[in-house]
Symmetry: D2
């Protein structure tokens, strides 16, 4: 592969985030291969053209299948609604093209399973957009754990809460449909589960409770028509990890006061570390023998940070985590993979979420590999 030609499907918020990330990666990293923004696809031809021009893509397509077939495209990036991830990724894999797909991998565990099998068969690089893991301070947390600085891991307590559905007048959307991977657990909690696996590895068994607090929501903003909601607003679960650690996870999209509260605390025999994504550039750490927690602020000594700023404390933002994700993907395409989430791993995240749903439904412990 001499040159990476990006083919991006989707022009919504995540589509633009991808475009920005490719541009920024080109400017800030010394990439292994040249990068071109080869093609952009949107079902609306005019929008495809406009966005292609303003985001710097060479070609615009209104048919995603033509984008996949485009010979200039040798990496397919998918940012469309969740239910389209499956057909698009399968089509790309069928012609042997690497795929970079937004999370969640699919809208059912069965689809996710087919996708990881197809990826394995195709033998190409795949990545799924769990960009929070590419935060340099999260990489530091992972290294602290892997180097054994926390000793044997004892517990993981995690939460991902926001408040955007707290108001019962917040309307129905595809996020409220299980068939589109809706609900607090699938929408937010999956980031937390992916993070737990990224940091501590496999989960063996789970138990859970799930609540739907507002069972009716307006069909659209201000609409009198109500739709019945079946997905979860709030989930709590117990986890038993393969490494012997135990813990809890909670996910809610109606918890007042939180906007992006992906937080966790990991304790081991030699220390405790804590993170809250509402303070994206900070980690709190207490090692055995120290009196209290110390605040670490991200800086150029962390992997990836220096590409954005030469000085500590000049904070990275959400979009730059996407740029770091893109960099790891491009390195993987050059045979130097980092810790990015491939289809196999993304399926494992989906399977874990499915186990939690099953455990909540049947009110019993579920072994994650039951499914």
């Amino acid at each position: 592969m001499r040159e990476i030609g990006i083919g991006l499907i989707g022009t919504g918020f995540m589509g633009r985030a991808h475009a920005l990330a490719f541009h920024q990666a080109k400017a800030v990293f010394d990439l292994p291969h040249p990068l071109t923004l080869a093609a952009l696809a949107d079902a609306d031809p005019q929008r495809a053209r406009q966005c292609a021009q303003s985001w710097g893509f060479e070609t615009a397509h209104s048919d995603w299948q033509r984008l996949i077939a485009d010979p200039k495209v040798n990496l397919v990036a998918i940012t469309t609604p969740n239910h389209l991830h499956f057909p698009m990724a399968m089509a790309a894999l069928a012609v042997g093209k690497p795929v970079y797909c937004e999370k969640p991998l699919a809208v059912s565990l069965d689809q996710a399973d087919q996708m990881r099998q197809a990826a394995k068969a195709a033998g190409v690089v795949t990545r799924v957009g769990y960009n929070y893991q590419h935060n340099p301070i999260i990489q530091l947390a992972r290294e602290i754990i892997l180097r054994g600085e926390l000793g044997s891991i004892v517990s993981f307590q995690g939460e991902f809460s926001e408040d955007f559905m707290a108001n019962p007048a917040s309307p129905w959307s595809w996020r409220c449909e299980a068939a589109h991977a809706g609900g607090a657990l699938a929408d937010l909690g999956s980031h937390l589960l992916a993070m737990a696996r990224h940091l501590l590895g496999d989960v063996e068994a789970v138990c859970a409770v799930s609540q739907t607090v507002h069972t009716q929501r307006p069909a659209s903003a201000g609409n009198r028509e109500q739709r019945t909601i079946a997905v979860d607003d709030h989930v709590h679960a117990l986890l038993r990890f393969a490494n012997g650690a135990c813990g809890t996870v909670s996910s809610s999209w109606l918890k007042h006061g939180y906007k992006n509260h992906l937080a966790f605390e990991i304790s081991g025999t030699l220390g405790t570390l804590a993170f809250d994504q509402e303070r994206l550039n900070e980690l709190r750490l207490c090692r055995a023998g120290e009196t209290g927690f110390q605040r670490l602020l991200a800086g150029p000594d962390l992997p990836g940070y220096a590409a954005f700023s030469p000085a500590a404390g000049h904070q990275l933002g959400y979009n730059e985590l996407k740029t770091l994700e893109v960099q790891e993907l491009l390195m993987a395409l050059a045979g130097e993979a980092g810790h990015g989430t491939d289809f196999e791993e993304a399926w494992a995240v989906e399977r874990l979420a499915a186990a939690i749903r099953l455990a909540a439904r049947e009110q019993r412990w579920v072994n994650v590999d039951e499914q």
Copy 2:
């Protein structure tokens, strides 16, 4: 009852804390009855005499049964090791004297059950030392919940972690014996469970995991002899409350970085509130429509605070929560009970802890009233 004659059994840290609290209550509150420090008992006659003198008690006994029989004593306060709570409280109740017992109520659920039955039969006031609930800012939290300011309660996430057993060289003590109500759940977690019940009422069902991280500890500090430890170092549980709320509790005595981290977050349809006992005088609150959490600092507008300071921000300490507990007890003796924990309630806390232990042992959901 014209005058309250306190008979205090035990001269350890909690014995002194009681003595201080009675003195301070006398000085700062307008009590319904005069209070005298009638008698103090310790098995060591010399220590009993010395402490009685320095703490201002009129009489010293080396035999607790004589203290209970002492006609000047009409309130028996028990601060002895946990396994003595049962015989002492039962003896006091048998002669119809009110009892103020340190937590835990007993070292087995069966004992606790007998004690609450005896209390009911005796028809006297009983109280158990869950002094953290008497924190004025906790009373504010309770009122916020009861007045419906958080709406319907959705979730409770609580933790009580300390680090005093984090070092594997921290030696065995009675706290490491199940027969003395040892283990992180019984020692620390019971405060959290009592708090959860104080704020949200009955728990219907639980599920849990429990870990013993260090299965051997020195028999005493620096001793080469090791003792095998069977009690829990760390417990996580899921809770389903009778009011429909769900949540998690965690308790650990080996989590580096924490000294007195009894913390919880309660969310409802109209708001979220959060507390951490390491910042004893603060509450964080976010109401629907507000952007973020607001910090409330305890002040004289809260019940009980003004007795200690006329100005907000002049913080109350741990010992003053004990004074507030004593005040509620003395009001209860005068027929004006507040929200103190009586034997019935303390038994319910023990039963909840027992249900969590059972759920962890059998790895299944347990209905709290199974036991």
Copy 3:
């Protein structure tokens, strides 16, 4: 001196705080001399009797001069309004009795000067109630500085702000009269100046600005009659210390959001430490080579703490700082003085405040020893 007989003048909030502190000191410390609560004085004979009884004093006086003359009294504690400190302390010193006086020492620098001269002449122990300095975590801060752990001290940035006069409808009181040592600088700022001296020693020169924001206030709550206010609401100053450090201090009693915000940050060539009295039991510390601040939570390893609790994180409150102040005073009476504020030191605090007022009035740098 075989036995310390306390004679306490004043039964307001500070009077009661003294009574509690003497009681608690007796119970928690191993004191060098026995302590008796010998006599209590209040101009109102009935109040004197009632308080004496409820606080455990042996005798009640309605004439403070008789209290000073009482042969059972060999320590005179003064908690009356500020303008009475002078005559009472001078009378006690005149008969050679040690004095424990609430802050401020006096209502004018001239009075303060006479009092320190009289104390020196009498050769007795004197103490002034700057109890915030007796906070164990402040003692830790002082030791960190004295041991050189911060290196050469570079800067002090301090503030003492509250909000109790923020509302322009907050009425006039003696606190609004310069002749009673009123104003934000004298009332609050003097604590901060005393703290700066306690931690860093002499200040050589100052420059300042002073503001009276609300120049009229109701004569009493809800009163239509307005009184003109001349004292400062808010003061900022620059300081040059004798040790070469420089810094700023600010004091306000109308800063919304603060209740007891006596905060400072001290930086040196080897580290920085920070404190905020709204979190009384915490210190933040960053040493050279460390990435960020570490939170230290008070515990029994700090001087004085263990008297109140055997475990870290069981927080001390405002009243317990008073008990620690009393302990140091009682040790000083036994010839083992700690770092308590005597009349000489309290005069130096008053002189520093006077220099700041002069610098603000004349808008120039003032050498502190100009006065």
Copy 4:
């Protein structure tokens, strides 16, 4: 002006930051004019070519004068070392081209004065890179103040501290030369002064102290040769604002524990607000009648934020503030100026810093318009 052709001088960290910002502005904003990256200049021809290619510029120049003369360039962006700002900006203004210059405007107040006069004479848009002001949460703070929500402003307390010169072995660099606008006040403090003016307007008078803590530093890292340092390491000042507010500012580059601590607290008769750039997306606010501070987290309701993320809590980073600065500049070129810092305002910032230096040197109050 039909199309904006950017001519960028300098390829260091700030050069790349500009390039990224122009790209991102193009992608995320609906700009009034099309934008082209016309030319890039660096004295090293090869570096100029390489950077032009990787950052997407059409032409590369090794002579900045040719860039200014380039007819495709109609906006000159200057990111070279400080002493070159003057000749470059003067040359661009001489041919009537708008200038976007990094801070500080110049290395002497005299140069700055000439530059603002030239800008006025040329009648073109000028901007100086005080990008911190373009933080959406800072714009919110400014609006809160301007709408009168804090009432009359009483005080400003500000600080900008970092620790990158804390180690005495941190070597000499141009930042240590007054002739290159070095020292903590010029390098860091000028951001704080610009912020104070942005939020509260003109400062009338100042008083200050200045310290050089380490008067010798290695000529380069690890070098035994020492250079004498004359610029300030730490400055404290008092300010009197034209609007009647008073306050303090401090700036240090050797304060352990801080990485980007541009923090301030502004209080008024109706409220207090606080900001710390180490938590770039947060503001703390307490309004009259509220008990404590509330945390506001940036979200799409704030000006500019939505361009980067549709959801609150998905934090902006340092580089995105630069993009926001570029957007305001481009709007200003289209006649719709926002609150960007032009040469006139940047000169006022320099004059204020010069007044502080003079006040420190002469140890007296200085009227800012003395100079």
